[in-house]
Symmetry: C2
Subunit: 422 residues, 2 copies
């Protein structure tokens, strides 16, 4: 490690308390959808302190709303801005985007939380609260890394673009807006909660709704009707076959420890409305995983053709074809080659800081990385300190040690990627 | 046909308009559950006119509520009485109960009705409106028969007990109350809408609810969870097997034209609540048909033991056994031998009036006849003028010709069953 790198790492080791304090403040401002402004105010103040060039704007213009990858059912984006802080480089180095989302999912059933969901309580090296892992701990790791570079007065060649976006949990409109505003870089790091694993590839996903028709009749003469529930069961069985077939094609070694790399999850089914009537309607809702090397449209077509083929299995479906809608959430897959220099730089930093071998896998969920890579053509790596298992769950927490370690790894990677101007 | 019998039939042929008028008034008072009083007022006035001994009472005493066959979720029975009108015989003849329910099912989606659901419109020999077939047309046939006997001044040996009860559509509490009040007879006719067929046997039925547990997980890693919807599908497949097995045992010739004499209908299934989560709960609701020659308890046990046996098919069910509840509707089966004198008398009357062979079958639905026969030990035959297919449907109607024919057949049967005192 070079001496300026050691300075940065040393500064980080001495200033961990600043990170804990910042994370606590961010968790205590529970920034669920539509209420992101106060947490963003903390971010803005921190960026100002770090003398980053601030860009604060309310997203939602026509260009965004009409973009083919725009996905949101939000009524208004007013008052809850996107924030970008730019650390301008001297020129001649590679630039990097450090992207993190400020929105958190709702706290869910409060009775399942031991403490207030937004307590920010620190206990035995963990900090508790909604968003601690997903992904305010990641945000703090990014800001600590930038602060360490600032504090040691190092000047970088490439730009560092720090992005604190809204709407990740609901389809990525915040990150899409940064792209439409013109932000691009030679690489991007998104510190989602990966348990410090590296995900150059990410499973994409999208929601579907299948409407299945039956024919009503009295339950006592059910043979006079056709059960929409039974027809829906037949469809689910064919979705299971499709899932098996799609997954048999996935041969990327990054998936070798994952039993179903791109699952088709039936999350919801509602059929019928009266115990003694034959149900004439059933609705299936679910999530279809999309492989890193396929497009959303390819996956859509594959499921649609399975539904069409059902007409040959059961003539009922010729009369009453099941109807599919692609509604709600959509997350593009990410697909960075493992050999990419960005992966080398950040996993190399990991090895130096931790003296361990990095774990490189494919993620089972999509992130805003899909938008950065597919729309922005930016190489993206997902790597962060949060605990995967507790994200979205009650009693979410983060191991503070991991957050500090991620800050060191990211700082080192930024120094090497953007290069220091001597 | 004897001369006094001809007199009665002649009176009926001349006074059909009285029946149309009475039915129209009854249909126009839409007596859905909890609002039966105005239609009952018309019945009371008619019974008074016919000089029947009236018994009018509000059901719902402790004896009824605590009876093992009581089945109702109704909050209050106040203000909507049961009505019984007694035509006392001279003695020495067999008595008969003529039972009819005054409650009608709700009109449903009004946009599907061509006319107001309670219009009572008469067009091309049909009278339209909710309850016309199920079963106010039957009620009018009974009252016309009694009126004809009254008008021709014939004195019967046996008693005629006319019953206009509430709550048939919701579990039979009205008819159960007549039994607890002491009403019994040597036979009973219930003119439910049978298209003028005879149903000495009726399928019983009861509702069930099965709660199925799963284990939640994120849809992207669905292999970490267990889908309650998939487990529910397995249960439904086993219910289908149980249905096949139960029906293979039904060898009563009355069922030979019915493809599934005692169906198990899955009417409702709700599972999961989020497209991208593995569902941890699914609820199945349905209706189980009960054979005329089995008890409700036997049928219950059979389904419960199938659910228990599932533990050997799938170990998941040992950890999380599906839970079954027998909730809501329960209708006891009826099982009168075809050779019973009551069947002979009424089918004989049919042959004389119509000069056709009677159609004797088993009904696919339960009626209050199950209570009369099982609790009251009264031989019951179901026979009435309504149109089976339109009961509970939009644009319900009755063929008035059938109603008049039913009145003649029932009048003739009553004369022969109760005997005329010369």
């Amino acid at each position: 490690m070079e001496s300026h790198e050691s300075m940065v790492i040393q500064w980080l080791k001495k200033n961990q308390a600043r990170g804990t304090f910042l994370l606590q403040k961010l968790v205590q401002e529970g920034s669920i959808r539509g209420h992101e402004s106060r947490a963003q105010a903390i971010i803005i103040e921190k960026c100002r302190e770090l003398k980053l060039k601030l860009d604060i704007w309310e997203i939602g213009d026509k260009e965004l709303i009409n973009h083919p990858k725009f996905c949101s059912d939000r009524k208004s984006f007013l008052d809850n801005p996107n924030v970008v802080g730019l650390l301008k480089g001297k020129g001649g180095g590679k630039s990097i985007i450090l992207n993190s989302h400020i929105d958190v999912v709702p706290e869910g059933d409060r009775t399942k939380w031991r403490e207030d969901p937004f307590s920010g309580l620190v206990e035995h090296g963990r900090l508790y609260g909604r968003g601690s892992s997903d992904m305010k701990g990641g945000t703090v790791a990014l800001l600590l890394a930038i602060e360490a570079i600032r504090a040691t007065k190092l000047q970088l060649k490439g730009d560092v673009i720090f992005e604190s976006v809204i709407e990740e949990e609901s389809g990525g409109a915040g990150t899409l807006a940064t792209l439409l505003r013109g932000y691009r870089a030679d690489g991007a790091i998104i510190p989602e909660p990966t348990n410090l694993k590296f995900f150059p590839k990410q499973q994409g996903s999208m929601w579907f709704r299948i409407t299945v028709h039956g024919k009503s009749a009295h339950g006592g003469t059910r043979y006079e009707g056709t059960s929409a529930i039974e027809k829906a069961m037949l469809i689910i069985q064919h979705l299971q076959k499709l899932e098996a077939e799609r997954n048999s094609r996935v041969n990327d070694p990054l998936y070798e420890h994952i039993s179903i790399p791109i699952p088709i999850n039936v999350g919801k089914m509602n059929g019928g409305n009266w115990p003694s009537s034959v149900p004439d309607l059933a609705i299936i809702e679910g999530r279809m995983g999309v492989a890193p090397n396929e497009t959303m449209e390819q996956a859509e077509k594959e499921m649609e053709s399975i539904l069409l083929a059902l007409q040959e299995v059961d003539p009922w479906f010729s009369l009453y074809p099941p109807m599919i809608e692609w509604f709600g959430g959509r997350w593009l897959p990410g697909n960075l080659p493992v050999e990419h220099p960005l992966v080398e730089v950040i996993t190399g930093s990991y090895e130096e800081i931790t003296t361990k071998k990095p774990l490189i896998e494919a993620s089972p969920w999509g992130t805003d990385g899909g938008l950065l890579s597919q729309v922005g053509k930016i190489p993206v790596i997902i790597f962060g300190p949060g605990v995967t298992e507790v994200a979205h769950d009650a009693n979410e927490y983060i191991n503070l040690e991991d957050m500090f370690m991620a800050a060191e790894i990211i700082a080192l990677a930024v120094l090497r990627w953007c290069e220091v101007a001597i």
